[in-house]
Each structure stands twice: as C-alpha cells, then as structure tokens.
Amino acid sequence: MTATTSVAQSPRRRFWGRMFKNPLGIFSMIWFVILLIAWVWPELLATHDPLQQDVTLQRLFEGPSRDHWLGTDQLGRDWYSRVIFGAGYAFRSILIAMTIAVVVGVPLGLFSGWRGGRVDRAIMWVNDVLFSLPIILLAMAVIIILTPSLDNAMIGVGIAMSTRFTRLTRAVTLQEKEELYVDSARITGLSTRTILARYIAPNLLSSLIVQAAIISGAIILIGATLSFLGIGASLDDPDWGVMLNRSRELFRVEGVWQVVPPGMALILTVLSFNLLGDAIRDAIGRDSSNNALSITKRTAVTAATTPHATGPDVVLSVRDMDVEFPDQSGRVSQILQGVSLEVRAGETLGVVGESGSGKSMTMLSALGLTPAPGRMTRGSVQFGGRDVTNLTESEWQAIRGKDVGVIFQEPIAVLNPAIKVGRQIAEPLMIHQNLSKKAALQRAGELLAEVRVPDPVRRLDQYPHEFSGGMAQRAGIAMALACEPKLLIADEPSTALDVTVQGQILDLMAEVQERHKMAIILITHDLGVIAEAADRVLVMYGGQVVETASADDIFFRPKHPYSRALLDTMPQSHDGHGELPVIRGMVPSATAWPQGCRFAPRCDFVTDACTNDMPALETIGGDLVRCVRHGEIQLVPEEEMQA
C-alpha cells in the first residue's frame, strides 16, 4: 500500500521545474543557447570577421585585450570571433550526423524490436558488427568513397552513430510491446504502423533525447578530431578542430594561450552536452521522492491531550497523532489527523478503509517510520507502557527489530532475491538474539516448520524465487516471528494471494497468535478478512479515525455512515445480479480535504451541519464515532434490528 498524496502534476511542468532546479542543467542550457545564437546569428556575438587578418606584426599572437577579447592567432585573426563562428561548424556536424543516425537508427530499431525472431537477430547481428568498428574508421571510409570534407565525414559518423540508436530503440520497443497499452491498441484494431509511430515512439522520445544529447557531444569531438587530423574541415575554416591543430603547431614557440580559446570551446561544449543529457535524464526520471524510504528527522511534537490506554496488557497506544507532508511547492497537507488507537496482547485490531484513507501511514508513523518529507507534528505513542514518541532512530531500531514483526502485502518483494531464505530468517536472530550462525539457521528451520512450510530444512537452502506466493508469505511470517515480537503488524497480508491460499495464511496467523499471545494489527480493505480475524475494528477515512468498535458492532450495529457504506458495497452483501450499492464519488485527496466532515460529499445522510464543522471523535460506551448525526440516523435496517 502506498499513500499517494500529491496531485498529478503535468510531466511537462515537472520536467522544466526540475531542469531549472539543477545547477548543472542550467549551466548546460545557457551554454547551449549561446551556441545556438552563435550558429544561427554569429554576427550578433562576434566582434570581428573571423577571416579578417591583421598582419601588422604586433597584432599577431596577441593575448586578450579590449579589442581582441581572447587575443589573436598567428594571422592576427580575432580568436573570440573565430571561436564564435566555430560553433556553426560544430552544429552543422551534429545536424548531418544526427539526422542520419536518427533517420536510419530509430526506424530500424522499432522494426527489429517489434518483429522479433529471426529478422531481429539478423538486424542486430549486422548492427553489432558496425557498432564494434571505430567511428573514425567509418568516417574515413566514407571520405575515401566520396571526397574529403567535414560533411562527408559526418555521413560516416552518422552511420556509425545510428547503431547506438538502433540498439536503444530496439531495447525500448521490446519492453514497451509487452505493455498492456500496446495490447489495447492491437485490440482496438490499430495498424502496426500506427502503433509504432503513435504509441511506442512517443514513449521512446525521452530516452532518445537523452541519448541524442550525449551523442551530440561525441559527434563534436569526432568532428574536431578529424579536422585536427586534417581530414575534416579545410585549413582556413574557423573550425575548433582546425584551430586546435594550427595552434598545436605553434604553441611551443608562442606559448600555451593559443590552445586555450578553441580548446575551451570544445571542452565546454562537449561537457555541456553530456551534462544536458544527464539533466534531462534526471528531470524525466520517476519521482523518487515518492517512494523514498528515508525517515524524517525528529522534530518537536506537540503533546497529545487524550490520556493513554492503561493496563499491563496494552502493547501499543497512540493518541492524537497528526502527520503532515509538504508537497513540491512547499504547501503542507495533513495526511493524518488526530489518530488514536490501542491494541492489547492477544488481541487483533483490524484497520479498514479505502486506499488513501491513511491506514498504512498510521502504522508507519506509530513506529517512528514516517517517510520523508512527512513528519509527525502532534501526538503521543506508547509501546509496552513506555513513551516512545521522541525516540531516536537507533533507539527505535532496537524496539522494532525485536518487539515488532511486520508482514507485508508482497512477500516476494520483501525477500532479497539474491540471498537464501534461510539466511534471511537467520540474520535478525544473529543480530538481536546473539545466536551463532549455526544456531540461528537451526532456529530458522524451526520457524519455517512452525509456519508449516513443508520440508523446512531443504527450503532454508532455497532462493526466494523458488517459493510460491503462499510459501513466501509463510516465510515472511516466519521472519516476523523470529524474535518473538509483542506486536505483529500485517499490512494486507493476504491481498496479493490466491483466495484459497488467503485462508491458510489467516489460519496460520490465528494459530501463532494463540501460541505467542501477541497483539496483531491487521490492515486490510477487505471486510471479509476483518470478519474472519479481527476482535476490534478501526475504520479510517480521509486520514482520520471515523469509528472504532468491536467486530460484531461494526458488522451488525455500525454507527458511522462510512462503515455502513463499506459493508454495503461488498458484493458478498448482495444477492442476485442487480445494481450494486456504491459509495458515490471518490476518496478526497489530502491536498483538498472537504470542509467539515470529510465523508460528507459522499454520504447519504448529509445535512448542513455536516459541512460546517469537522465532527469530533465522540466516545459512546467504549467505542468511538466521528459523526454529528450518529444518534439520529438509522443505519441498521428494521428487519435486521429485530433479528
């Protein structure tokens, strides 16, 4: 489960936002724009004619001066202007080589990847041979066939570079053609050409742009190399490579300065193309801040006002917990508001609600794991009677590893695919219980046997991929049980499993709870699972607790309209084939909670009072309910009341 909180932002805006936040990106973009102007309109930047010679002796090999900003060369020509005009040669090279590379490489890669099979293998074989030839060799071959000129050399470079684009395009096509949206396009009946051009190609664009930026740098470098070797641009052209070559011949006599202007132009340009490529890649990349597992630094937490649950059997007690998340623009949304819960030894607390209701976030925050940049701003947490609200991360680690076990939705994802299952179970035992490796492995075998994994000793030696989903979840439970925790948190433990396996896992959890008398917090969206396993239920909506009650009360005497609505939408609650009851609309986003009761826009019992103020969490008997109308509305049908 993930708590998706940020509203969707257009990728284009996000892209430019990130580009302008990256200093190297800004530098490369500025340099790129200067080069572009120098190419399109060199007269705007240049101070002299690049070919105009000033042969009065004292003007040769001049250092930088007010008249010649970068000095003059051996013929008294203005270095600065020559470098500016050189940009045109560089861009012309890129234009020729890149056009050929893209026009040849991309369609070939698309075709090859889409067709697959023998055609693909043949194309890739030829491609790989070309790929392994030195680029300069190919350029020379073209020059030999045609006439020596920078443009002709660039045709050869373009052909060589097309192999890079073929490989990239093919790789992306192979991957994209397995995507469901491509299946959908085929099912719609679109032609292969349309699918390739309008479905796959746009998804290719981002990788191509990155590749093109980096290859552009390489093309400039190759062009300069060829010119430097005397087989590119002609000797008088203001080409950076030619300039560098001429300077090299003279710099022993006339000093190092002569190499600096063309050399710097070349270095800065190639560097900026590479940096541009990196910046684009970073800006396109997935929003890594959303799934970062970094934990927020502790900050001052406002104390809770509600007293904690007391008693020797209270394992975890949370009071008045607020958690806030700043979004990219710095606006703060409150993900959790005033969440309170407690769970006792031997008891299973079911936490239920739709995606985005804050179920998983509640558990993470209660255990000091609020993902960055979120933070707990108010509230108090007690674990085993001890105040743990302000513990440091290392203090928390000592508690979490030993006294809290966690079972996740995707057991396979939790197991490291490269490490044998036995070692993964044994590791925490070696750390937290100081067992030797041998003893820990033996205990791991016992644990696998306890969760009824057949043939446990052999299984210890297997890798996670050799486990089915159900067996992996058993191994996950074994890991969670390893240090005999006081609290077991199960976040959708059976959702990803087949329904016939789900029952086995729930039975197993009940069995280990019975044996170890641990407290279980069971997070699920499935009220059927709640009915099976929970003693008490906490219903969450919009980052708040809306109702807590015993399992029987939630199912037979719900007090909050949301609890009732959740029950009604279950297809199990409904015989026949008619229209299913729904909860209209959808879960609100944390950036825009509705005014007043957060469920009001979707509630069938809404009145003006509901939308004015947020209802308080009221105590009725031992239960809690957050609804201003809880006393007056009839949520249980007459016939059921009598039954």
Binding site: Y181, I187, T188, G503, G528, L580, R584
Partner: protein, 354 residues
C-alpha cells in the same frame, strides 16, 4: 456443444513452447490451456473464474489473437476466428473488444482521453477527428458516467476507477458484439469496483453486448455472470449456471473456492471458516511445467480417489445442469444427484477410498 451459438470456444488448447537449451533436452511445452469449451449467447455474460496460473487470462489472450492457439476452434457468428489472418483482422477487431486489468498500464500515458477513445472510431468508422467524432466520444463518456471535462485528461490525471471507465468507453467505441473483461475490476477499491461493475451491467442492458468476464473473485464473477466456468491449472473443472454453481458446487475445487471467500459477517464467516478448514491440507498446486498425469487438484482434494492420481476425468453432466470434470461424479461413490458439499462435510476427514 451446439454449433449455432453466437460465440463458441471448442476444445481450446494453448501451449507455450519452452526455450531450446544448448546441450540439454528442451523441456516439454507448458500447457496453459487444456481443452476448454464454452459458449456465450448474445447479450449474456459468461464468467471465467480461477486463481493465478489457472490459464484464464491466456484464454482471453487466445481469443484476442495475442497468443497462438495450439488446437481447437473459436467461432464468432458462425465464422472461425481462431488465429485470424491479417486481412480479416480489422473485421474481427470491430466485433471483439476488451477491458484489461491494470488501469495504470492499459492506457497510453501520452494520449488524452479524446485520443484514447477516438482512435478506434477513426479506425473502424473512418470518421476523422472533428465534430462528428467529438460527439460520439462525448456520448460514450456519458454512457460510462463521465463528463466532457475528462476529454482533455491524460491517464495520470485520473483515478483508477475513471481510467477503467475510459477503457470501457474505448471498447464500446467500435460497437463490438463481445467485450472481454480480463480482471477489469480487480485492481480497484471495493467501493469503486462496484461503480465499474454497475457501468458494465448498464452498458450491457443498453447495447446488448455480450461479455466474457474473467476474474479471480468468484463473488464478483457470479454477480455479473449468467453462466460461469471455473478453471484450475488450465482445465475447466466446472461450468454451468452462475447462481446454481455458487449455491451447489459439484467440483471439490469450486467448493473450496466458495468456502475461501471471506464473508463480511462474523457469524456467516465462522461457518465458512469451518468448511474451509475441512479442506486445508497446506498442499501447493503442482507447477504448470510439471503437471501430474491425473487430476491436477488431486493433491489438495479432500476426497481424492485412486483413479484421480492416474487419469484426468472427462466432463460429465452435473446436477445443476452444467458440466463437471471430477471422477467423484463418474467413478466415485453414489452422490444421489446431490451436491458434493454435504458429502465433503461428512466424509472429508475420513479420506474415502472406493
């Protein structure tokens, strides 16, 4: 099966060849679908239910021409549509559409709703983008309960439920005769799932389109279907009227499936749990790559007979009017035409041998 049905799948087999290995014997092909037969009447819904690895999605992909059929025939309106040749593909696509599982990856992220729905209209009705196409798109959006403000939305600007509605509108755009819904509601929250199911049922009532509704949740499949088929490891183990099968399953696997659906009612769930636990022997289904010679459910079956280890049973008539593939009904003890349920309850723990 009669040859007159609107849509008919007859003895369908789909095998996936294993990759040839250097210096090693090529492993036998994985038999993903083994001799499946069913038919759908116009305007009706056939539900296909099974767990992961049962081959239910492969059936959908075979019908949709996304994987090759190894043996068997698929017929639509009397025409053979098994491995449709290129020139006839467009006509086939016009008749059969699909709504796929994952609302996140089944829509192209770079296209707006208008384009997603409109592409099929342009392709099949030769209506270029313009007022006429726009009006059709708006009507389709209206049909799935969405307003015109969604025309310019990209998939990432919509919720899972909204995306699935767009998928339905896209399928409806070509006015198909059959829509295959492959786990179309599985990724959605229960409350949203109900909304989407209602949309599907309303669409069927209005347009008379037939559905092949594939899912892992028997409760949902039963709700939307007239008939259901239950798949286990590539075999259709039971099929017939949806309500009759749910009320009186005749295959032990179907019974196990029903018993495994948790009820949102602690009292009913307590009795379901008891029934479920009578099945529970912690055995794993066999790997599709190494299928046993007999019935693949044999190692998990509480009432397995000796013959079950040796040969796969053939379909036989079941009391609910459908068919069942289980030796219990042909070689087993007399059931007196009764559901296997009571039999399992009373005899299960003793492991009957006949």
């Amino acid at each position: 099966m009669s040859g007159s049905a609107f849509f008919e799948v007859d003895d369908l087999h789909v095998h996936f060849a294993s990759r040839a290995k250097l210096f090693r014997e090529t492993p036998p092909p994985v038999k993903a679908v083994n001799g499946i037969s069913f038919s759908i009447e116009p305007g009706k819904t056939f539900g296909l239910v099974g767990e992961s690895g049962s081959g239910k999605s492969t059936v959908a992909r075979a019908i949709l021409q996304l994987v090759d059929v190894h043996a068997g025939t698929i017929r639509l309106d009397g025409d053979d549509v098994t491995n449709v040749p290129r020139p006839k593909e467009l006509a086939f696509r016009k008749k059969v559409q699909a709504v796929l599982q994952d609302p996140f990856s089944s829509l192209n992220q770079v296209h707006q709703t208008r384009r997603i729905i409109g592409d099929g209209i342009t392709r099949h009705f030769k209506i270029k983008p313009g007022p006429e196409r726009e009006q059709r798109i708006i009507n389709l959006l209206d049909e799935v309960g969405m307003s015109t403000e969604f025309l310019d939305r990209y998939p990432y600007e919509m919720s899972g439920g909204q995306r699935q509605r767009v998928s339905i509108a896209r399928a409806l755009a070509v006015e198909p005769e059959l829509i295959i819904a492959d786990e179309a509601t599985s990724a959605l929250d229960v409350s949203i799932q109900s909304q989407v199911i209602n949309v599907l049922q309303r669409v069927q009532a209005e347009t008379g389109v037939a559905f092949l509704f594939i899912g892992h949740d028997l409760e949902v499949v039963k709700h939307v279907s007239d008939d259901v088929g239950v798949m286990y490891l590539g075999y259709l183990v039971e099929q017939g009227d949806a309500d009759a099968i749910y009320e009186g399953p005749t295959h032990p696997y179907t019974e196990m499936l029903v018993a495994s659906i948790p009820m949102p009612n602690p009292i009913m769930q307590a009795s379901r749990r008891e029934l479920r636990q009578s099945f529970n022997n912690d055995a794993e289904p066999p790997s599709p790559a190494r299928m046993p010679p007999g019935c693949p459910f044999e190692n998990r079956c509480p009432v397995a007979l000796d013959i079950c280890r040796e040969e796969m049973p053939e379909p036989s008539p079941a009391h609910h009017g459908g068919q069942v593939r289980c030796h219990l009904h042909t070689s087993g003890p007399e059931l007196g035409g009764e559901s296997v349920v009571e039999f399992i309850k009373t005899e299960a723990r003793g492991q009957v041998a006949v």
